[in-house]
């Protein structure tokens, strides 16, 4: 070896570039934690003042809580909410787990397709789906009238608490399905094989091995579904309010919007209570996840998943699931589509006699056009911004030595358990209290964007984290060892390897932000409408046609974006993503 070769390379330059990696990491942490937890501080503050924050002065008091507890309407709403959440949780967890077992462990015909289709309600606009249900199954709805007319049978009355929880359960079933499916995919199927070879019948294996193995997944998804349905706003507002069934969420929303002088300390107190309950449930869920470790079977790499044979039940069960998907998802969407092309929808007159373009023509102007433009802009900007921020935060959380990094995963998943209306109220107060920047955010659509981004940011993390975890840490250590700093290593090595997850996160964020609405209900003002708020407003005014066409816009764009994501970027939404929450 000659000395020339050995000394050829230039020495490492010690250029100190600003900002240093540490500064960048701290900055990311402060921004993420500040944006997520920040809005809850003014919410708490607003709940212990004797007057709204926008009126100067005021003293500390707990009277808002007193008023809340003294109001019998609140207690009635609380009882309805609990009943609703319990029913929803029971139905969606049982059905979700059943579908997961059928898809992951049996020879059900078309199980892969069923697995994908089951996830659809999670991705389709939830407000649109509810409206579809109302159009098809509501009192005087297309199918419920048909059934009554020709079969003389009553259908489920969706304006009752059980009726509403059926709709909510179909919306949240994918959550249970994903968690259980991921748990089953992780679990070694040789555990079940072992039981079979020990002489147990397939049913016995199911009862004594498979279902017990799912217990943590059931508890975990059950808690999440319970939390989400506790604070659900769309279904109670659209179906409960017209029949005077109040829920905690609608109670707070109507107090805020309908009262001549909104009692904002009372609403803030109610929101704080909901926040407390949701947080407690989240902490409980984290404990359950901790306990899950003992259910993890180490050798999860077994190649082929052994199938339990359904024999004679194969086709009946497949038909049952197909019918469920048809009536819970496809039919409401078709109903909406039909609705958007007719003057009014009735089984008494053939729809082609009532055909009209007017519902679609309306979208070309006024508040409808504005909402579509806003939503498209927010989805695009929010998708990019959230993906960038979450990528940075995920790097800090899992690829840095920042002392506080371990708090980030918890903080990033927090908004998932927080009701949208609480996020909305929180940001409302936050903008109000932060002076000029706050009022700028409050005046335009960017304030809504921020709330949407924070609300949906857990999905971005949930998509990114598993990919990040699969990138071996030695790859970035190698980057550091050859002289690249933290940020350079992230930029040149980790982020390029993360690219598929970044695209997936963008697609998911785009869809979620496009279809989101409840945080915006507290932030929207004339001129800053988005599709969701306009749909809700218009529908509550009794106008259905343009709402159906707006919902179809959401459905159409969602399907197109997901299709592009699936085919171009090979994105697959699988159970694995949600499981790492």
């Amino acid at each position: 070896m000659t000395s020339t070769v050995y000394e050829a390379a230039a020495p490492l330059r010690r250029k100190r570039s600003l900002p240093t990696a540490g500064t960048l990491q701290w900055l990311t942490w402060i921004v993420v934690v500040g944006l997520i937890l920040g809005p809850f501080i003014p919410l708490l503050y607003a709940s212990v003042r004797d007057r709204p924050l926008y009126e100067g002065g005021g003293v500390f008091t707990l009277s808002a809580y007193g008023d809340l507890f003294a109001d019998p309407a609140f207690w009635r709403a609380a009882r309805h909410t609990l009943e609703y959440a319990a029913l929803t949780t029971a139905m969606s967890v049982v059905a979700g787990a059943a579908v997961a077992i059928l898809v992951a462990r049996t020879d059900l015909p078309g199980r892969k397709l069923f697995g994908r289709l089951t996830l659809l309600p999670l991705l389709l606009p939830s407000l649109g789906l509810v409206l579809g249900w109302i159009v098809v199954w509501g009192p005087g709805g297309y199918l419920s009238s048909l059934v009554q007319q020709h079969l003389h049978l009553g259908t489920l009355d969706i304006n009752t608490i059980p009726g509403m929880s059926v709709i909510e359960a179909t919306r949240l079933l994918p959550v249970a399905y994903m968690t259980c499916e991921a748990a089953l995919a992780r679990a070694d199927s040789s555990l079940e094989d072992a039981a079979r070879s020990a002489g147990a019948t397939p049913l016995r294996v199911l009862r004594n091995v498979t279902v017990p193995m799912l217990r943590p997944a059931l508890l975990n998804s059950g808690t999440l579904i319970f939390t989400l349905s506790l604070a659900s706003l769309g279904i109670p507002l659209l179906l409960g309010t017209p029949h005077n069934i109040q829920f905690v969420s609608t109670y707070l929303y109507l107090q805020w919007t309908n009262a001549a002088t909104p009692d904002s300390p009372l609403v803030s107190a109610g929101a704080t209570l909901l926040l407390g309950v949701a947080t407690l449930l989240l902490l409980l869920r984290n404990r359950l996840l901790g306990a899950e470790a003992r259910y993890v079977s180490v050798a999860g790499k077994a190649g082929r998943t052994a199938l339990l044979s359904l024999r004679a039940w194969r086709w009946p069960l497949a038909v049952l699931i197909a019918l469920y998907l048809l009536f819970s998802t496809v039919v409401p969407v078709l109903g909406l589509a039909l609705m958007s092309f007719v003057a009014f929808l009735t089984p008494l007159v053939a729809p082609w006699h009532l055909f009209t373009w007017s519902n679609w023509q309306l979208l070309g102007s006024g508040v409808y056009l504005r909402s579509i433009e806003h939503s498209a802009l927010l989805a695009l900007a929010g998708g990019i911004a959230t993906t960038a921020l979450v990528a940075l935060a995920t790097l800090v959380a899992h690829r840095s030595r920042l002392p506080v990094r371990r708090s980030l995963p918890f903080v990033m998943l927090y908004p998932r358990a927080i009701p949208g209306l609480i996020i909305g109220i929180g940001f409302f107060w936050a903008y109000l209290l932060t002076g000029a920047p706050g009022s700028w955010l409050r005046q335009g659509i960017w304030g809504i964007l921020l709330a949407f981004c924070i609300r949906n940011l857990p999905f971005a993390y949930v998509v990114m984290y598993p990919t990040m975890a699969r990138i071996g840490e030695e790859l970035d250590r190698a980057g550091r060892s050859v002289g690249a700093g933290w940020w350079r290593t992230c930029r040149s090595i980790v982020l390029p390897l993360l690219r598929p997850a970044l695209f997936a996160s963008f697609v998911l964020m785009f869809v979620e932000i496009l279809n989101d609405y409840d945080p915006a209900l507290f932030l929207v003002r004339p001129g800053t409408e988005v599709i969701g708020t306009t749909m809700l407003d218009t529908f509550l005014q009794g106008i259905v046609g343009p709402v159906a066409s707006l919902a179809m816009v959401q459905v159409g764009v969602t399907m197109i974006v997901l299709a592009i994501g699936t085919f171009v970027f090979k994105i697959r939404v699988t159970g694995g993503h949600e499981s790492d929450e």
């Binding site: 020495p11 790859l475 050859v482």
Partner: protein, 361 residues
């Protein structure tokens, strides 16, 4: 040629929760030396290496390379990993999968703001050095394990680091390839005169490649020495047992002369051992003796007589290709012996050479 620096590691202490990962680890590596950290998994060898690399921060101690202080707990000083200018080959090779072989090697030079032309020249030069010149345009997934390892090594050399750290670089290769790779890396290391620290759990690797070996166990260095010293003169029981097979004989000191100790075994027999030992009579001692150091002869052979010769019964024989392995029993004493040729008969004589014994306890 630029001087390859020496490395001084002083009293490293690292705690993982309640477990002490490093307990006062100290050693010096001379310039151009290949120094091996050998031990079972969890002994702290990788933690030591990663502390030198800058990926672990010990609670206490000091690390100096070629006069530059990399880490000093007393001064709360720790140079970031990227400024240490060390070449590291990782266990998984960590060849970046989204870059071609060329890009993998070019990255360290780009970080150093080397000019384009110089990068091209240097990368090809180093690729030739590891005999991978034809693979510059390939992606890592198109390479075999052995080729990836060469790329990893080339990447660690391309910026002419002062020191090379190897973290179990051969553990992912199959047995045949591993032997070739060992010889090849050793040859390269001598040719480049690189100061090298090598981490392995494989004693053959450690013995065949190293100038000196440090045997580690539960966070402590048990012994530092040349491969011969480690093998022939293990300083304690752990080293004796970890590095190769060994017979352990316990007894009490019956007599001690200059350079010689007589050990009385449990059944009363005496063994003379060459050892500078200041043992007081009646002290408990344990001897280590390697199976291939024992001499085994048929019972009627007359070549073996006198002291340190025991009569033994053959319990089992195994043929292992290049040698025979005997499990013997002499009274209470179980012995394992290796011989090049088979010895006939159920009963044999075993001679324990006085110069083949090491006192380990």
């Amino acid at each position: 040629m630029r001087r390859a620096p020496d490395i001084a590691v002083e009293s490293l202490v690292k705690q993982f929760g309640a477990q002490r990962a490093l307990d006062n680890v100290s050693f010096r590596v001379a310039e151009g030396e290949l120094f091996t950290l050998l031990g079972p998994s969890g002994c702290g060898k990788s933690t030591t290496l990663m502390s030198i690399a800058g990926f672990q921060t010990p609670e206490d101690g000091r690390i100096e390379v070629g006069g530059d202080v990399f880490f000093d707990a007393a001064r709360r000083l720790s140079v970031p990993a990227e400024r240490r200018n060390l070449g590291i080959v990782f266990q998984s090779y960590a060849v970046w999968p989204h870059m071609t072989v060329f890009q993998n090697l070019a990255f360290p030079l780009k970080v150093r703001k080397t000019k384009r032309g110089a990068i091209h020249e240097r990368v090809l030069e180093v690729l030739d050095l590891v005999e991978m010149g034809d693979y510059a345009a390939r992606y890592p997934h198109q390479l075999s394990g052995g080729q990836q390892q060469r790329v990893a090594l080339a990447r660690a050399l391309v910026y002419s680091p002062s020191v090379l750290l190897l973290d179990e670089p051969f553990s992912n290769l199959d047995a045949k390839l591993r032997e070739r790779a060992r010889a090849w890396v050793k040859e390269l290391q001598i040719r480049l005169g690189l100061t090298t620290i090598f981490v392995t759990h494989d004693q053959d690797e450690a013995l065949s490649m190293s100038d000196r070996v440090a045997v580690m166990s539960s966070g402590e260095i048990q012994q530092i020495g040349t491969p011969e010293a480690i093998y022939r003169r293990p300083s304690n029981r752990f080293v004796a047992e970890f590095v190769g097979r060994v017979n352990l004989l316990s007894g009490t000191v019956a007599a001690a002369e200059r350079g010689r100790v007589a050990l009385e075994l449990a059944d009363g027999r005496k063994l003379w051992v060459d050892a500078e030992h200041t043992a007081t009579p009646n002290a408990q001692l344990t001897l280590a003796v390697r199976p291939e150091a024992l001499r085994v002869e048929a019972a009627d052979a007359s070549t073996l007589n006198g002291s340190n010769t025991l009569e033994a019964r053959v319990e089992s024989v195994a043929f292992l290709g290049d040698h025979y392995q005997y499990e013997l029993r002499a009274g209470d004493l179980a012995l394992t012996a290796q011989t090049a040729r088979a010895v006939a008969g159920e009963r044999v004589k075993v001679h324990i050479p006085a110069d083949a014994c090491a006192i380990v306890d």
